[in-house]
């Protein structure tokens, strides 16, 4: 019997199996941000174990509320900053150099095929786009990861999602993943890895693959994964060229992680995306999904473009293509948060930021901000947003507020009309 990508990674990283079915894995990356790490740091200090297992494997960023908005968030940032300095962690990203964790860490080349990655953040599953096993964990798992470089997991089962057909013009990775979540349900992949396969994934660039994997957790998945291929190698090449004689060499090395053809899956979902239309969520669960057509005309107060799901350069390009030469409706506040300084800078160079500004968007610095209602665009009671984020829970962007999850193109079109709108109908 062959093995899945996740099983291969588990086999090569196994440190211990204290009980049948419980795998203690060695970690290649422990990622940290200022919301979930400070309590772990405080506990390590309290236990007189203020140490790190390997400073080069820790990557640290302040991203959720940045620059700090008040004394409490400034204190969280300071705890993380002081800790990073104390342990001389080389890869720490502070104000001005910081961005959304699941955008900046891949952009720096830190995530490689075959890696094990944890972070105290549920959307860590994003990094599986590189053929890694990447799981969100709580603060205690993070604490043990920081101290010992290990984390415990149950034996991973994998659900294979085969995406075939041809994506229509104006339909994007976000529409695909919303449709997949609607099929699986919010706990359809609990304790499982979701493997995205098929020609649609093969044709996607890394930004789109990260959008797919980012939302695996919204179906309960431990990690989303894509198979490493030449697209992965091209993305990583500037960081790995010293390790390999050629791109073909890197490709051949990374292909060892690809799931075997006779691997065993817990389930398979075949989706022909040819007839898929732009998707949007209704209600307060990410598996409540309709077509944009069905929801057309629903008024919104705010449009938010950014986040670890859809704040990358490709996403901004798609939104800007819709916004070019158009204005935000008077009834709407448009907010865009490029996910990293590099994305911001590239968007400036490409004229994308100018398009957003000419349309009447507020352009913020890179941060998680409004996505979880912490800063930079919190909703008031009863307000409605269309957002390119990943979670539409009641009150997520502000107490009593409602969120409709959409693609960047749908978000842009909605900003222009003030009601949920299919960009292709503009």
């Amino acid at each position: 019997m062959g093995k899945t990508l996740a099983e291969k990674i588990f086999d090569t990283h196994l440190r211990d199996e204290p009980f049948p079915g419980t795998k203690i894995l060695n970690l290649d990356r422990v990622l940290c941000h200022e919301i979930t790490t400070p309590v772990a740091i405080a506990d390590l200090v309290w236990r007189n174990k203020d140490r790190v297992f390997d400073r080069d494997k820790l990557k640290v960023v302040i991203d959720h509320v940045t620059p700090s908005k008040d004394t409490k968030t400034a204190t969280q940032a300071k705890i993380l900053r002081d800790w990073a300095r104390r342990h001389e962690i080389p890869d720490f990203f502070d104000v001005g150099r910081n961005g959304v964790c699941h955008a900046i860490f891949p952009e720096k080349g830190y995530i490689r095929p075959g890696y094990t990655v944890i972070m105290g953040d549920s959307h860590t599953c994003t990094h599986g786009a590189f053929g890694a096993f990447a799981a969100g964990v709580g603060t205690t798992d993070l604490e043990v990861g920081i101290l010992k470089g290990v984390c415990a997991f149950r034996e991973p089962e994998t659900i294979r999602v085969n995406l075939t057909g041809t994506l229509s013009q104006g339909v994007y990775a976000k529409d695909v993943i919303l449709h997949v979540i609607a099929q699986l349900g919010v706990n359809g992949a609990t304790d499982r890895v979701i493997e995205f396969r098929g020609p649609i994934v093969d044709q996607m660039n890394m930004d789109a693959r990260m959008t797919l994997c980012n939302m695996a957790v919204e179906a309960g998945g431990t990690s989303g994964v894509c198979m490493p291929d030449m697209t992965t190698v091209e993305y990583l090449w500037e960081f790995i060229q010293k390790e390999f004689a050629s791109k073909e060499d890197a490709f051949n090395t990374y292909r060892q992680w690809v799931s075997d053809p006779d691997a065993d899956y817990a389930g398979t979902l075949d989706i022909d995306v040819s007839k898929l239309e732009p998707q949007v969520t209704y209600d307060y669960k990410p598996d409540c999904v309709k077509t944009v057509k069905e929801m057309t005309g629903t008024p919104v107060d705010q449009v938010y473009i950014g986040t670890c799901t859809n704040g990358r350069i490709d996403d901004l390009r798609q939104a800007a293509a819709v916004l070019k030469g158009r204005k935000v409706a008077d009834s709407v506040r448009g907010i865009v948060s490029p996910a990293t300084p590099k994305i911001f800078s590239d968007a400036l160079a490409e004229g994308i930021i100018q398009i957003f500004m000419d349309a009447g968007f507020c352009v913020t610095n890179p941060t998680c901000g409004a996505c979880l209602g912490m800063s930079n665009g919190v909703l008031a009671e009863g307000e409605v947003a269309a957002a390119t984020s990943n979670r539409n829970f009641n009150g997520r962007m502000g107490k009593g507020g409602m969120v409709h999850l959409v693609s960047p193109a749908t978000a842009a079109a909605t900003a222009v009309t003030g009601v949920i709108t299919d960009a292709r109908a503009l």
């Binding site: 979930t36 309590v39 709580g138 290990v150 009150g395």
Partner: protein, 176 residues
């Protein structure tokens, strides 16, 4: 050190209760567990449920349905239960990260089959429901003035070891 389990129960009769409902993100700027205490389940909208009510105040056990604790990885969700002396949750199923966070903190996330949860839910209008937990025997008892129901539960040996050790830091530190 192992925590104490069982006690007076509160029923949250809904599936997919998420971590934003358990502890809203705006409180994640707190850097101590104790500071979270007043905000437990603040955003949970459920008929008959009052986050500031007496039933929650005296509860030590939560009984709920499927996919409890879905959403964010925030361990603030188990912590807000911990600092309110709720160390036992009984549900049909959990989101993975929340479940692991519970055991990592040395608390109990007990899974029971749908039929057992249905039987427990039938007790929710009794005035006082008490739960007794026998971790070694893997049994729980639900007691009201009028009746007593008993259920066996499964727990993985690893999760049991975490609860007995008092949490994952203690377990890992002794072993790795």
């Amino acid at each position: 050190m192992q925590k104490t389990f069982g006690g007076s129960a509160i029923f949250l009769d809904r599936s997919d209760i998420n971590t934003d409902e358990i502890i809203p993100a705006k409180y994640l700027t707190e850097v101590t567990k104790e500071a979270l205490q007043p905000y437990i389940l603040e955003d949970l909208k459920l008929e008959g449920f009052d986050p500031k009510g007496e039933v929650l105040k005296k509860a030590s056990v939560v009984i709920t349905r499927e996919n409890f604790g879905c959403g964010s990885s925030r361990e603030h969700a188990p912590w807000v239960f911990e600092v309110n002396d709720v160390h036992t949750i009984i549900a049909e199923s959990y989101a993975r990260i929340f479940r692991q966070n519970m055991f990592n903190c040395g608390m109990l996330a007990i899974e029971l089959p749908k039929e057992s949860i249905e039987q427990l839910m039938k007790l929710q209008h009794s005035c006082d429901v008490r739960i007794e937990v026998d971790l070694n025997g893997q049994q729980i008892k639900a007691l009201t003035d009028a009746e007593e129901k008993q259920f066996a539960f499964d727990i993985s040996p690893f999760d049991k070891a975490l609860v007995q050790a008092g949490g994952w830091v203690e377990f890992a530190d002794a072993r790795y």
